[in-house]
């Protein structure tokens, strides 16, 4: 591992970016080489998106940026200037959980839990497009996300269940109730 001397670090300018994350506006100073993933996790404290591979191959870092699912490990922070970002923490307001999250729990799709923030973003993007996805559409939408525990079949069921909840108008569930 190369030890980078301190002078080299500090030569890079701080760039101030403005972004809207989960409905709140933030002004953050970032280095040019920082990734959106780093800003979300270490500067904004949102540890939902995870660095599964850092190469855009696993989907664990997925967030929704300006309406599209993007791999935050491959998006430079400076590129996020002026954008609107949604992470899992923003799926539902404080004290509530989203239908997608409820469905993942109900179908026991969550095993170790590492991959599902990424899956939730992919599912949210899919259900925003259509509430009646075919099996093929579900497979295609989730094709970028990898689950080490192998919960794939359960994710298929969870998507359909989440769609059912949303169609019934039950978009948010009370967190307290679910915990009980």
């Amino acid at each position: 591992m190369e030890i980078v001397p301190r002078e080299e670090w500090d030569n890079y300018p701080d760039i101030e970016i403005k972004l809207n994350v989960n409905g709140k506006d933030y002004k953050v100073k970032v280095k040019p080489y920082e990734r959106l993933l780093d800003v979300l996790r270490y500067k904004l404290g949102l540890t939902g998106p995870k660095e599964g591979c850092g190469r855009g191959e696993c989907g664990a870092c997925s967030v929704i940026m300006d309406g599209k699912v993007v791999p935050s490990c491959l998006v430079l922070a400076v590129r996020a200037d002026g954008s609107k970002i949604l992470t899992v923490e923003g799926l539902a307001p404080e004290g509530k959980i989203h239908a997608i999250q409820k469905a993942l729990l109900d179908t026991f799709a969550v095993q170790c839990g590492y991959c599902f923030p990424g899956f939730e973003m992919a599912i949210k993007a899919l259900l925003d497009r259509t509430l009646d996805p075919t099996d093929e559409e579900i497979k295609e939408a989730l094709s970028g996300n990898i689950c080490r525990c192998g919960s794939y079949k359960r994710f298929m069921k969870a998507v359909k269940l989440a769609a059912k909840y949303i169609k019934e108008g039950k978009v948010y569930f009370d967190e307290e109730e679910v915990r009980r």
């Binding site: 040019p32 080489y33 990734r35 989907g59 491959l74 430079l76 094709s143 996300n145 990898i146």
Partner: protein
């Protein structure tokens, strides 16, 4: 936090601004589009020390478009794969090969950031859209501070991940002539799975039919005898002007294709297997095109 590398980023305010920076700094600054290739290469340490990146995303408003004018289809280099795949262009029967390429491209989230220009610029043999565009006989538009030039895609590559782009140039557009009526394209990629699949073999085809006669044909692979996407010219020559039939295709891939195709063996597959796959994919691609144009 372990950054992939420390570097500076220049965000141009316009295409001219970007070209000016490239003119000044040449190979001292590296253009980055979607970043799905450059950032991964940097993470693997394969690009050495990259001092500065030229972020092309801010000039998307100038370089992201799909236009059809004067008989040419023009796709801006910064059009994302997702934008290309949701456009009307790919639902045109003649360009169905582009739709095929869209389907197998990779993860949905990658399609939102990867760009057409980037896919060609990486100049890697396993580039879906390069193979698909080769079948449409596309040209690449290179722009620089001193002007612009069009290079046919079939002459664009010079080696593994190398091409004729000068350090002060940017890929601005891919364009191809509108395909004739009785024609179609197809693209197939062979891999053990269909998601996140780089592919072992990529094959694209184009046929213009006159009844059941092959009036014109183009066949492209991820590699024929060089480590970059190429067309199989001898095979095309053999097929051109003949009656379409399965026997004809079989003759083409048994007798003609092996004379021009030199495959390599590596940890992924042996040369024999790759050659075999190429033959089969070529057959399937050409049959698919027949099906698409069929009954005219």
């Amino acid at each position: 936090m372990i950054p992939i590398q420390r570097f500076d980023v220049y965000r141009p305010i316009s295409l001219n601004d970007a070209l000016e920076v490239l003119r000044r700094e040449g190979s001292g600054i590296r253009p980055i589009a979607g970043g799905t290739d450059v950032l991964v290469l940097m993470r693997d340490g394969k690009l050495g020390k990259v001092g500065k990146l030229l972020d092309l995303w801010p000039i998307r408003k100038e370089l992201s478009y799909i236009k059809i004018e004067d008989g040419y289809v023009r796709v801006g280099a910064l059009t994302t794969i997702d934008e290309l795949c949701s456009s009307d262009l790919v639902s045109d029967r003649r360009y169905a090969g582009l739709m095929d390429a869209c389907r197998g491209f990779g993860a949905p989230f990658l399609k939102n950031v990867a760009t057409v220009g980037g896919n060609i610029g990486t100049s890697h043999p396993l580039s879906d859209f390069t193979v698909a565009f080769l079948t449409l006989d596309a040209e690449v538009k290179l722009v620089s501070g001193s002007g612009e030039r069009y290079v046919p895609l079939k002459n664009f590559f010079t080696g593994f991940r190398t091409n004729v782009r000068r350090p002060d140039e940017l890929i601005a557009e891919v364009r191809f002539r509108e395909a004739p009526e009785n024609s179609s394209t197809a693209f197939m990629k062979f891999d053990r799975r269909w998601a996140h699949a780089m592919g072992y073999i990529l094959c694209g085809g184009f046929i213009e039919f006159e009844g059941s006669l092959i009036k014109d044909v183009r066949v492209a692979f991820d590699s024929v005898s060089n480590p970059y996407p190429e067309r199989a010219f001898k095979t095309e020559e053999f097929l051109r002007g003949k009656e379409f039939s399965e026997e004809l295709i079989r003759e083409a891939y048994t007798r003609v294709l092996p004379t021009e195709m030199r495959r390599i063996s590596d940890y992924r597959a042996s040369a024999e297997y790759r050659l075999d796959l190429s033959k089969i994919l070529m057959k399937r691609v050409l049959l698919k095109i027949r099906e698409r144009v069929g009954g005219e």
